[in-house]
């Protein structure tokens, strides 16, 4: 367990540093999905398959895709990488990051979490799957959430299509190509 935790924590930290230190925005976005994936691993280790599934579907899936689409279709290739990552906000950013991190660590360290029963349930993935679809007895707890996640992914795809579609001015010239394509 410790080895797996160490691996996941290392993956998360390296990816997080990659997001901040990478000079290429696309690489930053890919590093970010790596860091999201490590969080999925944590949730699995904590026996929280629901959070793991939602994290995987929404963050590694939808959010990363939309951000990548956003980057690819809003910037011309030459400005996609920056010569330096240091700008005048670097100290402010560092202070905010350290402040938030310190505050949250302080809470983690000072509160007594032993009494909470969260995550003590089964690791049975098959049963969890049934719960997700609401087919078992008394199992509708995830049914609506799961449908909402489905809608969310669908909207993410639509949003990506809308953001990445050709400009309306380009359409006339390309309309016959589009007709053939569809």
């Amino acid at each position: 367990m410790t080895i797996i935790f160490g691996f996941l924590a290392g993956m998360m930290l390296v990816s997080a540093l990659g997001v901040v230190l990478s000079r290429n925005v696309v690489h930053s976005a890919l590093f970010m999905s790596g860091s999201f994936l490590a969080v999925v691993g944590f949730f699995v280790m904590l026996s929280a398959p629901a959070l793991a599934a939602f994290q995987l579907l929404i963050y590694v899936g939808a959010v990363s895709v939309v951000i990548l689409f956003g980057i690819m279709f809003t910037q011309s290739p030459q400005v996609r990488s920056f010569s330096t990552i240091v700008n005048k906000q670097v100290w402010a950013g560092l202070a905010v990051a350290l402040g938030v991190g310190g505050f949250l660590s302080y809470i983690l360290a000072t509160e007594d979490w032993g009494a909470t029963e969260a995550g003590q349930g089964t690791r049975d993935v098959a049963a969890f799957g049934e719960y997700l679809l609401g087919v078992g007895p008394d199992s509708e707890i995830f049914a609506m959430l799961f449908q909402l996640v489905a809608i969310l992914l669908f909207v993410a795809v639509i949003a990506a299509i809308v953001i990445s579609r050709r400009k309306d001015t380009d359409i006339e010239s390309a309309s016959d190509v589009r007709d053939v394509g569809e």
Binding site: A48, P49, T116, A118, D124, D138, E140, I158, V162
Partner: protein, 475 residues
């Protein structure tokens, strides 16, 4: 222990309600299902190259969903094992926000007609509305998260729709700001989960024993929902997004997701122990948002940005009702009445801007060259200030009453002073309208837009007149 994972406490509680099943729950979420079918159907019409049908289909679908909600008035229950609430806030959110969404879709028509993917715009309005309804009826923190994400994703795409540089910049600012705040919200919410052992809002009573974790969660929720409701200091995206995208999207963003997020906040504090200090935190945000919004609006030259800052101030008034949630019987009805009034008057004001122009100078002489249009704008702005007898007055009157009843007399005083200040803001639009200068051009409404502001005008007056009857029916 075969019952999966972490909702153990809630599972035990479920036994009391007896046989919960899909057959009982599905009719209670029929309006949401109708909105979803509307959105998907609109996409289908787009796919089969019938964009002309997309708008009427959206409007009819949303109105059907609204009428499906009417039988639910007075219901106080939860569905899907406490995760979603069908109560006064959730039901009235549907009755107010679904027609508002339909009005915004009609308002969008002149701006997006004959563009590529016209139908997708209407579908995105409906999808975003679903996210908003998930927020307004949230019974579980996962609904807060999914509601914020769903309504944000749709909104980004709507803001970016024109694809020019201004819209793209506005959408990117919105996207980055939204991603950071919702990530912060999710992260902070894990502390509540850790402290109460459940993602259900109704189990939040347990967080009182861990004050620090409770504070972290509260801050997270205020950041995440405050961003969605454009409450100062989480408002930075709003003026850019409103001014960058189509005006119909600005009207939509300033009403639908905002009201949804405010109601979601009310759903949260309903269960949160007062020892976490939420009433004071929300009261402070309310005072800041009102004061900042009105002062910032005073110096705007662009009417869209002026209305954006004014909507930040209006969020502050909304928060009066949320702050009073623990201590006042009036809180629910004040939130609902003000939400209805706000939806009508704000959509109305944005619609007039769509006719007259975005610059303050475009309004010079409008009151003389187009008297009816000018009079309508005066009614909307007077209602935004909260002067009787129009809708905004009754909404604010109830909010102030709720705040005083909840023990926030100082907040009510701040709100009244802010109303006086906001009169100055709106007079900056009204006064030039009746100055004897030659107008640049006589504003003419195309039929769709004319219908929108006339309906909004009717509702602004009617809600004011009918407020008394409305109050009796809410609780």
């Amino acid at each position: 222990m075969s019952a999966p994972i972490f909702f153990l406490q809630s599972m035990d509680g479920m036994g009391m309600d007896g046989g919960m099943n899909m057959g009982r729950d599905l009719p209670l979420v029929a309006p949401e299902i109708a909105v979803l079918l509307t959105a998907v159907g609109t996409l289908v019409f787009e796919m089969v190259r019938l964009p002309r049908v997309a708008l009427p289909f959206t409007v009819v679908g949303l109105l059907v969903a609204t009428s499906l909600t009417i039988p639910l008035v007075g219901t106080e229950t939860t569905v899907f094992m406490d995760t979603f609430r069908v109560d006064a806030l959730g039901v009235w959110a549907k009755l107010i926000l679904l027609p508002a969404t339909a009005l915004c879709a009609v308002l969008a028509y002149p701006e997006v007609k004959d563009t590529d993917r016209e139908g997708t715009v209407y579908a995105l309005f409906s999808f975003t509305a679903i996210g908003t309804l998930a927020l307004a009826g949230a019974g579980d923190v996962m609904f807060l998260v999914l509601g914020v994400l769903l309504s944000s994703l749709g909104s980004f795409a709507l803001v970016a729709y024109p694809r020019d540089d201004r819209a793209t910049e506005a959408a990117m600012k919105y996207l980055v700001f939204g991603s950071v705040t919702s990530a912060a919200m999710i992260f902070g919410l894990t502390f509540w989960f850790g402290a109460s052992g459940s993602t259900l809002l109704s189990e939040l009573g347990g967080v009182g024993e861990m004050p620090l974790a409770a504070t972290a969660g509260l801050v997270a929720v205020l950041v995440g929902l405050g961003y969605k409701a454009s409450v100062a200091p989480f408002h930075f995206w709003a003026p850019d997004a409103y001014d960058g995208g189509p005006l119909a999207v600005a009207a939509f963003l300033s009403v639908v997701p905002k009201v949804g997020a405010i109601l979601a906040l009310a759903q949260v504090v309903r269960f949160l122990p007062e020892s976490t200090g939420w009433p004071l935190a929300i009261a402070a945000l309310a005072a800041l948002s009102m004061t900042y919004g009105n002062f910032a609006a005073l110096v705007q030259e662009n009417v869209v940005r002026l209305l954006a800052y004014s909507s930040i101030a209006q969020s502050g008034y909304f928060l009066l009702g949320v702050a009073a949630f623990g201590g006042s019987e009036l809180a629910v009805s004040s939130l609902v009445v003000f939400a209805a009034a706000y939806a009508a008057m704000n959509i109305g004001a944005f619609t007039i801007v769509a006719v007259a122009g975005r610059d303050l100078r475009d309004f010079a002489g409008v009151g003389r060259s187009a008297p009816v249009l000018g009079a309508a704008m005066v009614v909307f702005l007077v209602s935004l200030v909260g002067i009787p007898p129009v809708a905004g007055f009754f909404g604010k009157f109830l909010l102030f009453g709720a705040a005083i009843e909840g023990g926030f007399v100082w907040l009510a005083v701040v709100a009244i002073l802010n109303s006086v200040l906001s009169l100055g803001v709106y007079l900056r639009v009204i006064v030039p309208m009746y100055r004897a200068t030659k107008p640049r051009a006589t504003p003419v409404s195309v039929p769709a837009i004319g219908a929108v502001w006339m309906i909004a005008l009717f509702l602004t007056v009617a809600i004011g007149v009918a407020a008394q009857a409305l109050i009796g029916n809410i609780v």
